[in-house]
Structure formats: structure tokens, C-alpha cells
């Protein structure tokens, strides 16, 4: 299978160009001045144009508008909802792995599928109704409301992912802990959760990824104080002359958490999560 080495290399190179070209473009745009953009495309820093920190100064200085506020919101909502998803999802996944349920005709597998099947429903179906519900509950444009919505979004995934991790932990370990006199909740906290740490980390990171990337919920359920980073980008974008350099800088900042997520996931669990998790 080692024939056609050159064809293979050329194809891989072209794909790398396609995959990374826009990344490079974003990177250099974030260091351009207005004139370097509206004077036709320029590609090579220091040769074509003189890099500047103008965009970054505006962003982190006084001209950033709501940048820091929305950035903080994004971090807070994603962290809180992921933690909640992993905690509640972890308990439920443990239950599904260790106990037998029968709710009417539903057994463990059915319940597991029922929970994960929520992800199939396009979010626009529920978010229009949630808008009306949130108005009545005074949760619109409210941090608690956003965190609850993101938790609802990520909980199914956490339950589904973690179930297989808990099933892989030998039940004998728990029995041993029980013989040592640990009550059930402590067995969970001291034995089961630590052993499932890679799974918990994976579930946390994936949840964070989805909450961080969300746009639709934020667009519809917040309008001022609970807005997140993607909305900041749309504000810069809709002005008559979009602030390319500034949006690129925000884009690079927004890239950091998902990049960490991807690298970490790739390192120690891509196989388990994607192949082991899907059965």
C-alpha cells in the first residue's frame, strides 16, 4: 500500500493548504490596520504590511465595548453548565450503569436512548418556546437561565458518554469499599468518580466546547447583560464596514478554549470517546 507516495503527498499538502489557509488569513488580519485591508489583500507581514497591535489594544482597552463582559459571560456560562452537566450526568450515568430501571416499558437502554435522543431535536424547536417560558419565569437575559439552558443542552451527552465509562469500572472495587464500611455516597465520591476521571474530563471538555460555540440560544435568550462572545462578533460584523481586524482578533481569542479541548481530547481519549462511546 505504499505506492503512489507522491500523489498522496500532493493531496495531503493541498488539504493542509485548504485547512490552514483561512487560519493564516485570520491570524494576519488580526494584526492589520484598516488601510492594509481596504487596499486589496496583503499576505506577508513585515513585507506586505506592517503588523500592528491596534485591534488588540481596542479590544482589551476602552474601545472594546462589551468585549470583556461578553468574554467573561462565555467563560462563566460554559464552565458552570459543563460542571453541572458532568455532576448530574455523572450521577445518572452511574445509576444507569449499576442499577436496573423499569419505568413502564422503559429499561436502562431505552432510558439512555431517550435522554440522548434529545440532541436530535433541532434547538430552534425548543428555543422559541423557551423564549416564551423564560419571559414568564424572568429568566430571559439572565445568567441562571443561560446556564440552565446550556446544561439542558449538554446533559444528554454527558449521561451517554459516562455510562460506558462507569460500566467499565469493576463492581468488585465498590463491593470492597462497601465491606470497608463506606456508605453509598462516599463510595461514589471516593472510588467511582476518581476512577472515571478521564471520562468526566472528556464529558466536561465536550460540554464546554458545545456551550462555548453556541450562538442560537444566546441570540434568542439574551439581549443585554447575559450576552456571549459570538454576539459580540455579530455586532462588529453588521456595521456598514465590518471591523475585520477586530473580529479576527476576537476569533483568535475564541479559538483558545476549543483548541485546548481538542488537543487534550486527542491526547488521551479520542478513541474511547468516539468509538467506545458510540455503541
Amino acid at each position: 500500500m505504499r505506492t503512489g507516495g507522491w500523489t498522496r503527498r500532493v493531496i495531503l499538502f493541498c488539504w493542509a493548504l485548504f485547512a490552514l489557509g483561512p487560519v493564516y488569513w485570520t491570524l494576519i488580519t488580526a494584526f492589520k490596520r484598516q488601510v492594509d485591508i481596504y487596499d486589496g489583500p496583503r499576505f506577508i507581514p513585515f513585507v506586505d504590511f506592517k503588523p500592528t497591535l491596534q485591534a488588540w489594544r481596542t479590544l482589551f482597552g476602552d474601545g472594546g465595548g462589551g468585549f470583556l463582559h461578553m468574554f467573561w459571560n462565555s467563560v462563566m456560562f460554559a464552565t458552570a453548565s459543563s460542571a453541572l452537566s458532568v455532576l448530574l450526568g455523572g450521577f445518572a450515568a452511574y445509576g444507569l450503569a449499576r442499577y436496573r430501571y423499569s419505568y413502564g416499558p422503559m429499561r436502562n437502554d431505552d432510558l439512555s436512548f431517550l435522554i440522548v435522543s434529545q440532541r436530535i431535536m433541532p434547538p430552534i424547536v425548543s428555543v422559541l418556546a423557551l423564549y416564551l417560558i423564560f419571559i414568564n419565569l424572568r429568566l430571559l437575559d439572565n445568567a441562571a437561565g443561560m446556564i440552565l439552558a446550556y446544561t439542558a443542552m449538554n446533559l444528554p451527552l454527558a449521561v451517554y458518554l459516562l455510562r460506558s465509562f462507569f460500566e467499565a469500572i469493576p463492581v468488585e472495587l465498590e463491593q470492597a469499599a462497601a465491606l470497608d464500611g463506606y456508605p453509598p455516597w462516599q463510595r461514589l465520591a471516593r472510588v467511582v468518580f476518581p476512577l472515571a476521571a478521564p471520562g468526566l474530563a472528556a464529558a466536561f471538555l465536550l460540554s464546554f466546547f458545545f456551550a462555548w460555540n453556541d450562538f442560537l440560544f444566546s441570540l434568542i435568550l439574551s439581549f443585554n447583560k447575559a450576552q456571549t462572545l459570538p454576539l459580540y462578533i455579530t455586532y462588529l460584523n453588521t456595521q456598514s464596514q465590518p471591523l475585520w481586524w477586530q473580529i479576527s482578533a476576537v476569533g483568535l481569542v475564541a479559538l483558545i478554549p476549543p483548541a485546548i479541548v481538542t488537543v487534550v481530547l486527542d491526547r488521551f481519549m479520542a478513541r474511547q470517546v468516539l468509538i467506545g462511546g458510540i455503541r
Binding site: 445509576g95 434529545q118 463492581v171 460584523n237 475585520w244 479576527s248 476549543p258 468516539l274
Partner: protein, 304 residues
């Protein structure tokens, strides 16, 4: 399982406490909103709150409206075209990287970079890439003597930019799953086939691809579910334009419900979308079950 059940079966109420939060969230954030949406879709609910029951009027009206049919058709076209392209490209890259003897992990990480971008940023990046005046793509096409393409002011080019942006972002996802699947495959059948003299395309179609079938269907299923939700990139690049020619159902429902305040009609749109997604997902799940069964028949013992 049986053992563990006896361990704690006596104190049965614990297990209900464990499972109740996801079920409560399911009820509060999926089931109830779904029922509410259906209820709203049967009324002329306005964003100001005024409403009265109108039966199936909204459905009759949107199914007869060109605007909605356009966005519905777009959603299907986007889903089919992007998922198909992502699968084919992701598969090709997975096989090519798998066959590379060096630099595998570096290539893999580089290929994953587009997936790390926030969808809104992806929309913006490709909007600037395709910008007719200041973007690099128009610049290079001009240098190569190619005619200028009105990327955002005509339907087909606008659709193409959206497809390219989506393919750019999500091919890595297909790549990731298929590459992981490739690495988990047993090498023995492949080596045996190679000893028998099979090579190149024969090896791929007769041996490799059938073994990748379950992972393929899983990846396609997961991507399809997401593809029907397409919104962010369209919102950022074309905003559904020119006119509403590149709108998706989610975009139409957003504009109708929130911007124009006609929640009843918007709700009806989302219900039609949901039914479509459910039908497609059911079909794909059937295929997945079939593919897995076929795989386990092929190599008994390994699949377990």
C-alpha cells in the same frame, strides 16, 4: 450487572434520585417546550403575547409559501451536499494519513484546527475570504485570469460559499472518527488480502471500506443531525440572502418568529423541520443497525 444490582437493590430509592435530574431537564427543556411549540404553532401567537387558536392555518400557509419551501429545500440540499462531501473528503484524508509512515500525529492535529473555530467565526472568516473587493480568493482568481464571481449576490455562488465553509469546518470531524476507526481495525484480514495479491482500490473496496461501514454510518448520522440545524454560518455569511435564497429553516424561523414577531408561523416551521429530522434519523439508525449486524457477521469475535 446482576451482581451490582443485588448489592444495592434493597435501597431502591437511591437510583431514582440519581436518574431524576436528566429526566427533569428532559421534561423541562425538551418535552414541555416541544408541546408548547406545537401549541403555539396552532395559533397566531405574536411576540407581544396576543394569540388565538387558528388550527392548522399556519401549516397550510407555510407549505404553500415559496419562501418557506425555498428554505426547506435549502436545508435538505445543504445537509445532503455538506455531509456527503465531508464524508468523502474525511474518508480520503483518513486513509491517506493512515498510510503515511511519518508525521501522523502532526498531520492529524493540523487537520483538526478548523473544527476548533467557533461557528460564528467560521462564517466571518469565509465571508472575508470570499469578499469580492478585499478577499484573497477573488484576488487570486483575478490574477489567474478567471472571471469575477459575485459570491454573495447570486444564489449558486452564495450556496457554494456556505457549503465550502461548512465542509472546511466539519470534514475534520469525519476525519477524526474514521481515522480512529481505521486504527482500531484488525490488520490481519488486510495483510492476508495483500498476501493474496489484492492491491490499491480492490483492497480498499473489498476489505477496508466494509470494515469501516459502522463507523461511517455513525459519523454520517451524527453529522446529519447537526447539518439540519445549520444556522450560524449562514447568518454570518449571507444572512440568508440574496433575498431569502440561501435561508435555512432555522434562519427563516428565527427571522419570522423573533425579528417579525410571528411566533405562530415560526413554530409551525420548526415542527415541520423536526418531523423531517426525525424521519431522516430513523432511516439512518436503521441503516446503522444493519451495518453493525453485517459487520459482526463478517468478523465474529472481533466485533464484540
Amino acid at each position: 450487572m446482576a451482581q451490582s444490582a443485588t448489592l444495592v437493590e434493597r435501597r431502591g430509592w437511591h437510583k431514582h434520585v440519581l436518574l431524576s435530574p436528566p429526566l427533569l431537564f428532559f421534561a423541562g427543556f425538551t418535552l414541555f417546550p416541544l408541546g408548547y411549540t406545537i401549541y403555539v404553532s396552532l395559533s397566531n401567537w405574536s411576540i407581544t403575547g396576543a394569540h388565538s387558536f387558528v388550527g392548522l392555518d399556519n401549516y397550510v400557509r407555510i407549505l404553500g409559501s415559496n419562501t418557506f419551501r425555498q428554505s426547506y429545500l435549502n436545508t435538505i440540499v445543504f445537509a445532503v451536499v455538506t455531509v456527503l462531501l465531508q464524508y468523502l473528503l474525511g474518508l480520503a484524508m483518513a486513509v491517506l494519513v493512515y498510510r503515511s509512515t511519518f508525521g501522523q500525529s502532526v498531520l492529524r492535529l493540523l487537520f483538526l484546527v478548523p473544527m476548533m473555530f467557533t461557528p460564528v467565526v467560521v462564517g466571518f472568516v469565509w465571508k472575508t475570504m470570499f469578499d469580492p473587493s478585499y478577499g484573497p480568493i477573488s484576488f487570486f482568481m483575478d490574477r489567474l485570469g478567471l472571471p469575477a464571481v459575485p459570491w454573495f449576490s447570486e444564489k449558486l455562488p452564495a450556496m457554494t460559499t456556505i457549503v465550502i465553509a461548512d465542509v472546511w469546518q466539519w470534514t475534520p470531524f469525519m476525519f477524526l472518527i474514521l481515522f480512529a476507526a481505521l486504527r482500531s481495525l484488525p490488520t490481519a484480514p488486510l495483510e492476508a488480502a495483500m498476501v493474496d495479491g489484492a492491491s490499491g482500490w480492490r483492497l480498499f473496496f473489498d476489505h477496508l471500506w466494509p470494515m469501516l461501514l459502522p463507523a461511517s454510518v455513525t459519523a454520517i448520522l451524527l453529522r446529519s443531525i447537526e447539518a439540519f440545524k445549520l444556522f450560524d454560518v449562514v447568518y454570518l455569511t449571507t444572512g440568508g440572502g440574496p433575498g431569502v435564497q440561501t435561508a435555512t429553516v432555522t434562519l427563516s424561523a428565527y427571522f419570522t418568529g423573533i425579528r417579525s414577531g410571528d411566533l405562530g408561523t415560526a413554530a409551525a416551521m420548526t415542527v415541520v423541520l423536526l418531523v423531517t429530522v426525525l424521519i431522516s434519523t430513523t432511516i439512518l439508525l436503521r441503516i446503522l443497525a444493519w451495518a453493525s449486524a453485517r459487520r459482526s457477521r463478517r468478523d465474529l469475535g472481533e466485533a464484540a
